[in-house]
């Protein structure tokens, strides 16, 4: 087991290194920080631009590999470089990472738990009304991209707020600035801000997981070991939760690692549309400002996050499936 995990970990570290390097090279070739200076008035002399770009390690006249070496050396020492305005990327990322982390964590928990529960319930009563309704709904949800869903939610919230005459859902930002209503007031405020982004992020996840969990559960329900569990005197509920659900969770956990990347992308859209100042919003902004170092830093973090999810799913897999632990 330890050897298995160590080998996986080593493989992942290599993958992260290659992925991040690739992202840096791509960003450094495709983005053009020099164009940021083009429409400044008065236009700075070329020598000044060169000097500034070189100081930020963004000068496209320096060979790509040399820039890459400087960047990689910095990353190994925990320094992600400087953004186009000259402030360190580390500070910026550290401030924004918390926002994204909260959003993704909540969306992930709501999405996977909700999806697994819905799917399991639908499978237990196959072709019942609940199964049919949830199947139809998940088909509909899977056809709606996050960008459309988020905008629909905003329109819905505006409509509800208009109808009720009060602000029930708040659709911009993470919290209201300068609010002075004590602890519970600010908790309420945060929840009002949180509801719609969480829904927009987790709804697709619920749909995917419920379909997958339903199919896995159906495969397991007719299996001999569930009948044996009933035969030895377990109640239907205990047999279903302790034996059927647990077994059906194993492949779903493997699937989890695949959906995590999609979740990060969804978080990017959600942040940008709902005006949360997280990493995803920063990514989109930094591409428009040709901010190579910030883009590379976020790519690195995304790769690390995806691989952490894979590792977590390996661990969960081992926890749920005794055969993995033995082998």
């Amino acid at each position: 087991m330890a050897g298995f995990l160590a080998r996986r970990l080593l493989n992942y570290v290599v993958l992260v290194a290659v992925a991040a390097s690739l992202a840096y090279m791509l960003a450094a070739t495709a983005l053009d920080p020099r164009s940021n200076y083009a429409d400044r008035t008065p236009k700075p002399p070329p020598a000044v631009i060169d000097a500034q770009l070189t100081a930020l390690n963004l000068n496209d006249r320096v060979p790509l590999l040399e820039r890459y070496a400087v960047w990689a050396g910095g990353v190994l020492h925990g320094d992600l470089g400087k953004n186009v305005t000259g402030s360190p990327v580390n500070d910026d990322i550290a401030r924004r990472a918390g926002v994204t982390f909260r959003l993704v964590l909540l969306g992930m928990i709501v999405g996977s738990v909700g999806g697994v529960l819905l799917g399991a319930l639908a499978a237990v009563r196959q072709y019942g009304w609940f199964d049919r309704v949830s199947t139809g709904l998940s088909f509909a949800v899977l056809a709606v991209p996050v960008v459309v869903l988020a905008n629909m939610l905003i329109l819905f919230a505006t409509w509800v707020n208009d109808r009720l005459g009060t602000q029930v859902f708040l659709v911009s930002g993470e919290y209201t600035g300068g609010l002075d209503t004590g602890f519970w007031g600010s908790v309420l405020d945060r929840i009002q801000h949180l509801v719609l982004p969480t829904v927009s992020l987790s709804l697709a996840l619920v749909a995917v997981f419920s379909r997958y969990q339903r199919n896995m559960m159906l495969d397991v329900l007719g299996a001999d070991f569930v009948r044996t569990a009933r035969a030895k005197g377990l109640s239907r509920r205990a047999a279903l939760t302790r034996h059927a659900l647990r077994t059906a969770l194993v492949p779903v956990m493997t699937y989890f690692a695949f959906t995590f990347g999609a979740l990060l992308t969804g978080a990017t859209f959600t942040e940008k549309i709902f005006g949360w100042h997280g990493l995803g919003e920063q990514l989109i902004n930094s591409i428009f400002t040709n901010d190579v170092n910030t883009v590379a830093a976020i790519a690195l973090l995304a790769a690390v996050a995806v691989l952490c999810a894979s590792l977590a799913s390996d661990l969960l897999h081992a926890a749920l499936d005794p055969r993995v632990r033995a082998g």
Binding site: L15, L26, F139, A143, P145, V146, V148, L155, A302, V306
Partner: protein, 306 residues
């Protein structure tokens, strides 16, 4: 399933041609019949045909083209002269939407075809040639799975200028093939042990010929279903990228750019958002229904309730 079991199952399965005195119906015909008999498949296909007709024949019905601006009607609700209303610029929503739909459908179809072909090739070669070829290809697949597709495509976006949408399609398909190629690889590994492949090998057929003539045709059902589902994935990705300005570039329009513009005015001019969003959702839903019904039609063991 072990090998003898599989053989028995094959003999019992109807639809394998050339067995017994009565000629069994061809597999293609069986699949088509099963597909059309399923309600959702037929409905999805019908909707999809209507969408295609609308996208390519619909613009002929309206006097407005997508580049026209009506300077007497800015942000007007739907009326007799502008069926879906107008945008802030005076553009006719009907004409613009159908133009966007054309682009999205073409991009989706092409990206799906290319990515499925890529998945089939990479998966089959990785599965057929064990050793370093397999290891390299598998590693490459894992690497692309780690890189968030949206991020890379967004970084590449400055390269997609005006008129380079073919490059965009290529990049899009580069990020859709990995999961399928993993499935194709594992199926190729098990196919390689089957007698007909062994026989071909011992007759001296070249490996590449075996892959194209024996391995890939045997995976055709998986690949067809996958290509269908990739169409919807590609349309959705294209929409999201174009929404943020990373995909199809103006003056060209697609679902994504239209939804981005429409969402800004949706509160007081709902027609700028809902027609586009509605058409997008219906199209993707239809594609998904077709893909799902195809999967059931190809699967001889599936039964669904009437």
């Amino acid at each position: 399933m072990t090998l003898p079991e599989e053989e028995v199952a094959e003999e019992l399965t109807p639809g394998v041609p050339g067995r017994g005195p009565r000629r069994a119906p061809s597999r293609g015909r069986v699949v088509v019949r099963r597909f059309l008999r399923s309600r959702q498949g037929a409905a999805g296909l019908a909707v999809l045909v209507v969408m295609f007709l609308l996208a390519f024949a619909g613009p002929l019905l309206s006097p407005w083209s997508y580049t026209d601006r009506d300077f007497t009607a800015f942000l007007q609700p739907p009326s007799a002269s502008h069926w879906f209303g107008t945008l802030q610029t005076g553009a006719d929503v009907y004409a613009v939407t159908l133009r966007g739909m054309q682009k999205s459908l073409i991009v989706g179809l092409l990206a799906a075809l290319v990515s499925t072909a890529l998945a089939a090739l990479v998966g089959a070669f990785a599965g057929y040639f064990p050793g370093w070829a397999d290891r390299t290809l598998t590693w490459l697949t894992d690497l692309l799975l780690v890189l968030p597709a949206f991020l890379i495509l967004a970084i590449m976006s400055p390269v997609f200028g005006e008129g380079t949408w073919a490059l965009f399609v290529l990049m899009l398909s580069l990020f859709l093939w990995m999961v399928t190629s993993k499935i194709v690889r594992s199926m190729t590994v098990s196919l390689k042990r089957r007698e007909f492949i062994q026989a071909a090998r011992f007759m001296g057929v070249r490996p590449v010929t075996i892959i194209f003539r024996h391995v890939l045709p045997n995976l055709s059902s998986l690949l067809i279903v996958d290509a269908t589902l990739n169409v919807s994935a590609a349309i959705l990705t294209e929409t999201s990228l174009s929404y943020f300005g990373f995909g199809i570039q103006p003056p060209d329009v697609s679902f994504g750019t239209l939804i981005a513009d429409g969402s800004k005015t949706a509160v007081y001019a709902p027609w700028t958002f809902w027609f586009v969003a509605g058409l997008l959702v219906v199209t993707v839903l239809a594609v998904n229904l077709v893909g799902d019904a195809l999967r059931d039609a190809f699967d001889p063991t599936s039964t669904r309730p009437r």
